[in-house]
């Protein structure tokens, strides 16, 4: 199931902590209520985004998915800016 989103950020090829750091930057450009879709190849990003949403007061993790794009695993995160 895929979510509607307002902005797409492709973090494929990035390693810890860059998917998180850059997603945070991208989320900062959104209006509250808008959704950022992040695509990452870093397996650790799954737990990292959960941790981020748990700690930060301004984002909510709507859902996470695992896809296969051209034979490579892609971890997709939907992050909503809430404040």
């Amino acid at each position: 199931m895929s979510n509607p989103f307002d902005k797409l950020f492709d973090a494929r090829g990035m390693s810890c902590p860059m998917p998180l750091v850059n997603a945070r930057k991208e989320a900062g450009t959104l209006e509250p209520g808008q959704v950022l879709k992040v695509m990452a190849s870093d397996r650790g990003s799954v737990a990292d985004f959960q941790g981020w949403a748990k700690i930060a007061r301004n984002v909510e993790l709507l859902s996470q998915e695992e896809e296969s794009v051209d034979g490579a695993n892609v971890y997709v995160h939907y992050v909503k800016r809430i404040a």
Partner: protein
């Protein structure tokens, strides 16, 4: 009859006053508690000048900053090498010159904590990181700055080791143990690396 009503009004009044006093006391106590409560803050002491340890410190610092934490990094002793932009020798004592000669002139010259083999190990680690598309230490230092991470150089160890201000990067803060503790005591997490 009139006296009965007066008595009751008097009782109500004293009850309200007691309640007001209680509310005031609780408000004060809450304010005191909030004052002491930890904030969304992380304080990191970077004592080590080893590439691998310093990398770990910056991964945590940039990650925490991205998660909305206020991050302070205190560089002391060997960690000061991370902040250096070059070594100077003139005007230094014999020991200070020897120290400058034997310590890294910048973050690019940091050794690894294990298997360094006169710098070959550090070069190897850097190229392996590049292969895996992990940001270099220098990129992470710049990123930390962009994210608003506070960088504080320990004044005492800088002085002891004879490192001049002009050998260090611009835009640093200088401080002592109290500036670390002031942040650390307000932080949920404090690390010594």
């Amino acid at each position: 009859m009139g006296t009965g009503i007066d008595t009751r009004a008097g009782e109500d009044k004293s009850r309200v006053e007691a309640l007001e006093a209680k509310v005031q006391e609780l408000t004060q106590r809450l304010a005191d508690l909030e004052e002491r409560a930890p904030e969304d803050r992380v304080a990191i002491v970077v004592f080590s000048g080893d590439l691998d340890r310093v990398l770990a410190a910056f991964v945590i610092a940039t990650g925490a900053a991205a998660m909305g934490q206020q991050v302070s990094m205190f560089f002391t002793f060997w960690g000061l090498s991370v902040l250096k932009k070059g070594s100077e020798f003139s005007g230094k004592t014999f020991f200070q010159k020897a120290m400058a000669m034997m310590s890294p002139g910048s973050s690019l010259e940091l050794p690894v904590s294990k298997m360094n083999y006169f710098g070959v190990g550090a070069k190897m680690l850097r190229s392996m990181m590049k292969e895996k598309n992990v940001s270099s230490l220098e990129d992470m230092i710049a990123l930390a700055r962009d994210l608003g991470v506070r960088t504080i150089a320990c004044e005492m160890s800088r002085d002891v080791m004879g490192i001049n201000d002009s050998e260090l990067a611009e835009g640093l803060e200088h401080g002592g143990v109290a500036s670390f503790l002031a942040d650390s005591l307000k932080s949920r997490t404090s690390l010594f690396i």
